[in-house]
């Protein structure tokens, strides 16, 4: 292991430079204007895998953005680890809140700043460099496969079909994923629960054009007001979602599980301070950690309609829109929730407007048992590099594809992520600690050793 560690240490500056090249490609999957960048980014990663020592690496087409596949097979008797990651990133607006160009990464205050620095280019790239270090040191104890997709931030639509078509190619003993955060740098943790997601877009249409609010105001339903009332009614005074059937399949924690759950260190005041709010809010009867980790939620991600420019324009808008997402927990099914939501939303619309509901994408929630051998290997790897046992953690986020892998490939995933809250993923000024990047690589190397040894 000393040899690998030395290799990482000697090449750290180059590793960061190589990550910067990857971060410079604006691979925003939500914006079709960046379609060319997606291909460019996939090709860049393929080349990085080959440089790292992969036997094979290629950009494989899908109906959407391509998937980068790579492998290094050392021994057919050795266990096989399938690394999953994604090279697409979130949009960068509001652009004026970025202190530096989101696609011109910089190293400042020991951190790497740029879109994707953490989510998920930075975290995916640790695996490429861990592979390189193990191969260079002659210490790769497992077969390794990579699948890095370009649609994670928009629902991973293509990878499901792709997995179904390449089951043999993807045969493995565990899927290893770094796309999550730890509770804190001094509170290492491994995510063992992810929420599912159902993301919809709704449009409320009133008059067939924007109307003068003086000549019509008071006599015509205003779509922005109607949409507000409909959204308002989606959660009740106790913070519970009012869509009928929404909670039917929600698995409640047992009192013992709730007690366990309450053990993770959490400071409500620090949490509030870190995001600049006076107090938290949410479903009555649950703690903040429970609300995030094991309870479903409904959020409005965006709302728009009518005049939004400078000054005053006196109109009743023709249309108002909202993007609404629901985070789901076991055993909610995003397809069923999408149907229930659409039915309910249409049913509460007054006759004075028309309502359109489009389900944009969704995914199942996921749980990784803490007695899984691969989870135990990951926990030992973290303990070696962080000096303490990691806590199992329900993060609240969604990686919808993880439950799909289980369904399609029959393989469990271990979520060995090294992000921190302060990384501000999905927000302006995303960053990733240089130390997280380097210690992440080392931990991944330990994982391979522990996993190979512990089977």
């Amino acid at each position: 292991m000393e040899k690998v560690k030395r290799y990482i240490d000697e090449h750290r500056e180059r590793f960061v430079e190589e990550l910067f090249s990857l971060l410079r490609i604006p691979s925003i999957s939500a914006d079709s204007a960046h379609r060319g960048d997606m291909v460019r980014c996939a090709e860049h990663l393929r080349d990085a895998l080959l440089s790292a020592g992969a036997d094979r690496a290629e950009v494989m087409p899908t109906d959407g953005n391509p998937i980068v596949y790579g492998e290094k097979i050392v021994d057919s008797a050795a266990p096989t680890v399938l690394v999953y990651g994604h090279y697409d990133v979130m949009p960068v607006d509001p652009l004026d809140e970025w202190k530096t160009d989101p696609f011109e990464p910089v190293l400042r205050d020991g951190r790497i700043w740029g879109r994707g620095a953490d989510d998920d280019k930075g975290q995916s790239f640790m695996h490429v460099k861990a592979l390189e270090a193990m191969i260079s040191a002659g210490e790769l104890p497992c077969n390794v496969k990579f699948m890095i997709e370009g649609e994670e931030e928009i629902g991973s639509a293509s990878i499901t079909t792709w997995c179904a078509r390449h089951k043999e190619l993807l045969r493995s003993d565990v899927i290893l994923v770094s796309d999550t955060s730890m509770l804190g740098w001094d509170v290492p943790s491994i995510t063992c629960g992810l929420r599912g997601l159902c993301y919809v877009q709704v449009t409320v249409t009133g008059p067939d054009r924007d109307l003068h609010s003086g000549l019509y105001g008071g006599a015509v339903a205003d779509p922005a007001v109607v949409l507000s009332k409909m959204i308002a009614s989606l959660t009740d005074a106790d913070g519970r979602v009012t869509v009928p059937g929404f909670y039917d399949r929600v698995r409640e924690l047992s009192p013992a599980e709730r007690t366990d759950f309450g053990r993770a260190p959490f400071c409500e005041a620090a949490f509030c301070k870190s995001i600049g709010v006076r107090e938290t809010a949410g479903e009555k009867g649950y703690s903040t950690m429970e609300r995030i980790g094991v309870r479903p939620s409904l959020d409005v991600n965006g709302i728009w309609g009518g005049y939004t420019g400078e000054g005053a324009k006196t109109i009743i808008p023709s249309k108002a829109h909202a993007k609404i997402s629901m985070r789901l927990v076991p055993d909610q099914d995003y397809r069923e929730i999408g149907r229930l939501f659409a039915e309910h939303f249409r049913s509460i619309a007054p006759r004075s407007v028309r309502v359109d509901v489009e389900v944009l994408h969704g995914g199942f929630p996921y749980v990784c048992p803490t007695d899984l051998p691969a989870y135990r290997a990951a926990a030992r790897a973290v303990e070696r590099t962080f000096g303490r046992k990691p806590l199992p953690y329900y993060s609240g986020g969604s990686i919808p594809i993880i439950s799909t892998f289980e369904k399609e490939l029959g393989v469990k995933s271990v979520l060995l992520g090294f992000g921190l809250d302060r990384d501000a993923i999905h927000s302006p000024n995303e960053s990733y600690g240089l130390e997280n990047f380097l210690r992440g690589i080392e931990t991944i190397v330990w994982f391979y050793r522990e996993f190979a040894a512990g089977r």
Copy 2:
């Protein structure tokens, strides 16, 4: 009168061409990028007044956009008519809904298409051309003054002070305004009631940055949801505004007035069809015409916050905003309503967010008595050109400055407008009938004769 009519008929093509030059100037007052166009537009109008035969015309500075003043004094014993209009226009978005360039006017199907064709360049310019026709024919029976401002669409902030400073200059017997519509081309009408306006912008701030909706969803108040709930609560199930004190000064119609009011021809089905809705909506217990004409209302003119681009972005937005306007009726005071609204809106905000309320502008409602000599002169003028007596009409719109004129100058205004619903003012594809433009000029000429004769 035959001489004037012949003059109008002989020069109609030139009149339209001249209006086109005026419409080509993109004088959008709500957008500070157009500040230079405002001055250019004012200078253009000054020149037009001088060409029409005014003794004097000038662009007078204010703290905001300049005001065009002009005059033609024929006889100190003759009555003086002060013409008010505005050269600023509404913004043009959504631009992609315009069939032709909003600032490249065209004549098509007997109509003039372009932003401001009706509101209020087309209607103001009728007065310039009426003056020219009367001077050319040697038949101007009144002194005429013009004040044409550039801030009507954003609240006429500068003209109040300007009026107070120029009381002597503006001394007159009546203010004549063409900035309103008729019930129909075959149902001529004169607006004798205008609603007041209180226009506010609100911002709800939650976390200090956009948050990942998975890592925080369910535990943090979502500003878009909170704003929706706050807006939803501003009107009750009966369509009444819930701001405490909102209705305290509303003058209720007597049963006799309501009967009168019901006499105006109105077809609910045609109204719904004309704007593409299945049914009307509004305050319980009042007809559509009453809701528009004599009842106050609350509308959301625009709402925005969070991610509004293509596809899905999973965030809890940091902020959500809305532009909210209230139309007021006698004797509501927009300053008091602004205060009541701001107090109420702040009071209903949960502790989990911060709320900012900014009153953008406002104005008083206005009533013109139908026994006013100038109103009667206008009614006779309309009867001469339209062949039937006009109906007095409560339009629902606001021209806040009209009540200010009464307060500052002690002069009543007559609202002799020639627009029609189909003109789509404030909307894409604004237009103005060529016949409205020409018959408007003739009616204005008649007004001067009737007003001079009837005193």
